[in-house]
Amino acid sequence: MLTLDAKIPRVPIEDAWTTHKNELRLVGPNNRPKYKVIVVGSGLAGASAAASMGAMGYQVECFCFQDSPRRAHSIAAQGGINASKNYRNDGDSTWRLFYDTQKGGDYRAREKNVYRLAELSTAIIDQAVAQGVPFAREYGGKLANRSFGGVLVERTFYCRGETGQQLLLGAYSALEEQVAKKSVRMHVRSEMMDLVVVDGRARGIVVRNLETGEITSHAADAVVLATGGYGNVFYLSTNAKACNVTATMRAYRRGAGFANPCFIQIHPTSIPASGEYQSKLTLMSESLRNDGRIWVPRDPDEKRAPADIPEKERYYYLEERYPRFGNLVPRDVAARNAKDVCDKGLGVGPTGYGVYLDFGSAIKEKGSEEVISKYANLFEMYERITDDNPVETPMRIYPAVHYTMGGLWVDYNLMTSIPGLYAIGEANFADHGANRLGASSLMQCLADGYFVVPVTIGDYLSRHAAGEIGESHEHFKKVESEIESRLDSMLNIGGQRSVQSFHRELGKIMWEHCGISRSREKLEQGLEKIPALRDEFWSNLKLPGGRFEFNRSLEDAHRVADFLDFGELMCRDALMRDESCGCHLREEFQTPEGEAQRNDDDFAHVAVFEHKGDGVEPERHVESLSFDALPATTRNYKT
C-alpha cells in the first residue's frame, strides 16, 4: 500500500526550505565514505548530483547508457536558464519566479517545492559561473539576460543557443573531477535494467553492460534516478533517440508511485516529419513566433506554392481566433490549433501535417537584413534540414512532444514512495505542474542535483547502517535471472516485425489517442489498441543477434516493452482526469470559447498510480494540493 507523506514543512513558504534543512539529520564527513550512493543517469540532474555527493565524500557509482556522461540529452536545450537575480532591476524576485512557475503549471504543482526551486535559482548561476560556464555578457562584462516565454521580466541566462550544452559540460567537468579523485566511479554504456528492493527499501540496481551484454548487480545504501522524461513513448519527439522510460517504469513496477503520467508538453514549433522514415523531430526556437505569421490555405485542395496564394485566401487562424495575442498565444494553445486546422484537411507539406510560419510581412516591414540577422542560426538550421530558405518561402512547422511534467512521485526530500529511492530532474513530477515554463527545465535539474538531493539524502542515510545488503544477497541473483529470462524470451520470439515498427506504431496510437487533445472516446480506444499491440510485440517480435554482444535492437526492445506498458498508464491517467489543465486538454472540458476548463473542486491534486501486478488495473491515489501562499486563478489569453 502506497503511503504519500509529502513531508512538506509546516512553516511559511519563505522559510520552508531553510527550516527544513535545519531539521534534517546529516551524515558526518568521517562517515560519508562508508555510504554508497548509486546515481542512474548523467545529464544535468545526474551529473550534478553525482559530482556534489562525490565531493562531499560519499562513494558514488554513476551509470549512463551513452559512451560518455557528456552525451546526455540535457545537452540539446537551446534557450536558457531562469534565475531570479533581478539584474535588470525590473521587479524580479524569488516570489515572482515562484508565481510565474506555479501559474504556468496551471496550479497542479506543490507550492513549497516550486518556491524552493525559485529560491535556489540564483545559486545555480553562481555555481555555473564558478565552473567556467561562459554565459553571455554585456559590454561592461556583466551577465546578460533575455526574456522568455510570456513572463514580464528578463531573467533568462544563456550561452548563444547552446545553454544546455554549456551547463551540461559544466556539470560533466565537475563529475570528471570527482572521477579523477576516485570519489565517483563512472560506468558508461551501462543501462539500468531493474531496481532491487529488499524489505521495502531500495538496495541497488541490476545493470546490463551494453558492449558485452553482461548482467551485473550493484548494491548501494541509496539509489538516485536521474533518467529523464518519457517523451519517446510517442516515438517521434524532440528527445534523443535513446531516451526512455525504463528506469522509472521499473521503479514503478517495484512499488514507486508514478505521478501525473498524462502531463506532457507539446512544443508548437518543430520541423514537421517529412516521411515515414522520420526518426526524430527537431525543435525551432519559439522566438520565431515574434516575427512569423502562422497560416494555412483556406482551400483544402490548394495546390499552389505559398507565395502564389493571395492574402485573402490565407487563413491566419491564430490571429483570427485570438486577436489579442495572435501568433504569440501560449505553447499549448498554438499546438492545439495547429493540429485542429490540419485535422480539418488544411495542413501543408508532403504529409499534410504542417502549417506555414511566414516571415514575409516582417521582411516587408523591417527589411530582410534585420529579420535574417535576428534569426540567422535558426534559418540556417531550418535550411540545413529542409533545403528551403525561410526568407524566400514560408517555414513549415508542426507541434512535437517535447517535455514530460509527470514522473515518479517524490516527497519534499525528492524521495519516491520507496524508501532510499530518489528521483531528480525530469524523472520526477515535482515542480512543473501541468505545464512547464520555458527555460525552467535546466533550472530544476540543477537545483535538484547541486543543492537538494545532496542534502536531503543524508537524512535517510543517517538513519540506516552503511552496507547492510551486498550484491551477494539472494534478491540480487533473483532480479538478475528475471532480467536474463526476459531478454532471452524477447530474443526467442522469432516473429516477423522489427522493434522499430512496434515503437512507431505505439507512437502513432499515443499521438492520436493521448496527444494534444484527448477525449474519453479516443482514450478508451487507445486503451484497447495498446494491449493488442503489446500482445503482438510479445508474439511477433523479430530480433537479430544474441544477448552477449553489442545489440542495439535488443536494447531498443527492452525499452519499447516498457513504453508499451507505460503508454497504457498514460491513457488511463488522462482518462481519469476529468478536467483540462495546463497542457492536458480533454475535449469534454472546455469553455464555450474552446479554452481549457480546470476543475479545482475535484482535481486540485496529484494523481499517483500504484502498480498492482501485470494485467491488473493500477490503483489511483491522490495527494491533495493546497494553494495557501498563492490562490489559484484561471488563465485567459483571449482578452
Binding site: 550534478s48 559530482a51 556534489s52 565531493a55 559512451d67 560518455s68 557528456r70 552525451r71 546526455a72 540529452h73 545537452i75 540539446a76 539584474y87 545559486a123 553562481d126 555555481q127 559561473v129 564558478a130 565552473q131 567556467g132 561562459p134 554565459f135 555578457r137 554585456e138 562584462g141 556583466k142 551577465l143 550561452c159 548563444r160 547552446e162 550544452q165 554549456q166 567537468s173 565537475a174 570528471e176 573531477e177 572521477v179 579523477a180 563512472m186 558508461v188 558492449e211 534523443a240 533517440k241 517529412s274 516521411g275 522514415y277 526518426s279 526524430k280 527537431t282 525543435l283 540545413r384 534540414i385 533545403d387 522489427s498 522499430q500 523479430k542 537479430p544 554482444e549 553489442f550 535492437s553
Partner: protein
C-alpha cells in the same frame, strides 16, 4: 534514390573487420544520413542479417555521439555538419558511399562503426575542470569578463567531443580537442589558478592515451563539425611552454582539501 554502400563490419574488439557492400533502394533525398542507415538496418533485420552498429543519440548535432568517416571525411562532405545533420540530398542517385569508423589507436573499434572514446573522458579527468564543490559561490557580476573573451571561451567550449579531429588527423592527434578545453577554461578568470598545471597534465594524459602529436596539417579544423579553430592549439602550445617556465619547483608536495 539507389545507393551502393561500402561499410566497415567488425563484430567485436578482437575481430579483424572488413568492408562489406550493400545495395539500398528507396532512399529519399530528405532522409538524414542516419535515417538512411536506419532504413538499411530495417532491411538487414528483415533479411535475418545483423544490422550495422553505429553511435547516435540526439540527432540534432550537439551530443557528439555520431561518428563515422564518410567517403574519407569525418562526418562526410558538408563542412561544419555532424553526420546526423547530413542529408541524402547531398548525394546523387547511384552514388557509392564508403562508411568507416573513426580510425585511431586511442579509439579502439567496439563494433562496426562504434568506437571507444573513453580516452577523451580521461583527458578531461586529468584537468579539464575548475576545481569546485557545490555550494555558495561568489556573485558572478563581482568578476566582470570582457564579452569578447567570454565569446572566445564559448567558441572553444562549443566542442562536442565527437573525436572527428582525431579521425581527420593523419597523425591521430587529439590536440584540437585538448586545446579547446584548455583554452575555454584558461581564458576565463575562474580558470586561472589551475591554468598552467591543467595544460601540462591534460597534454600528458593525451600522450599516454596514444594520440599522436600535432604537425599542423589543420585537417582537424577543416573537418570539425563545430568549426573549432586551430588557433586554440596555438594557445595550448603557449600555455604548455609557459607552464614549464612558471611552474615552481615542487618542494611542498600537493595538498588536497580535507
Amino acid at each position: 534514390m539507389r545507393m551502393k554502400l561500402h561499410i566497415w563490419r567488425q563484430s567485436n574488439r578482437s575481430d579483424k573487420g572488413h568492408m562489406e557492400t550493400y545495395a539500398l533502394d528507396g532512399v529519399d533525398p530528405d532522409m538524414s544520413f542516419l535515417e538512411m542507415l536506419d532504413h538499411l538496418n530495417e532491411q538487414l533485420t528483415a533479411e535475418g542479417n545483423d544490422p550495422i552498429a553505429f553511435d547516435h543519440d540526439c540527432r540534432e548535432g550537439v551530443c557528439g555521439m555520431c561518428s563515422m568517416v564518410i567517403n574519407g571525411e569525418a562526418h562526410g562532405p558538408k563542412p561544419e555538419t555532424t553526420t546526423c545533420q547530413l542529408y541524402m540530398r547531398h548525394f546523387k542517385d547511384g552514388d557509392e558511399i564508403y562508411i568507416e569508423p573513426w580510425r585511431a589507436k586511442a579509439f579502439p573499434v567496439i563494433k562496426d562503426l562504434v568506437v571507444d572514446r573513453s580516452a577523451f573522458d580521461r583527458i578531461i579527468q586529468a584537468g579539464g575542470y575548475i576545481s569546485n564543490h557545490s555550494g555558495p559561490k561568489p556573485e558572478p557580476n563581482s568578476i566582470p569578463i570582457d564579452p569578447d573573451v567570454s565569446e572566445t571561451a564559448l567558441d572553444a567550449a562549443t566542442c562536442i567531443g565527437c573525436g572527428a579531429c582525431v579521425a581527420a588527423c593523419p597523425n591521430s592527434s587529439a590536440m584540437l580537442f585538448t586545446s579547446a578545453k584548455v583554452s575555454h577554461l584558461g581564458l576565463l578568470p575562474q580558470g586561472q589558478t589551475e591554468r598552467f598545471e591543467r595544460a601540462q597534465s591534460m597534454v600528458k594524459q593525451m600522450e599516454e592515451e596514444g594520440f599522436g602529436s600535432c604537425r599542423n596539417y589543420a585537417e582537424c579544423e577543416a573537418q570539425c563539425p563545430k568549426g573549432i579553430s586551430i588557433n586554440f592549439i596555438g594557445r595550448l602550445n603557449a600555455d604548455f611552454l609557459k607552464a614549464t617556465l612558471v611552474q615552481p619547483v615542487d618542494r611542498r608536495g600537493k595538498m588536497e582539501a580535507q
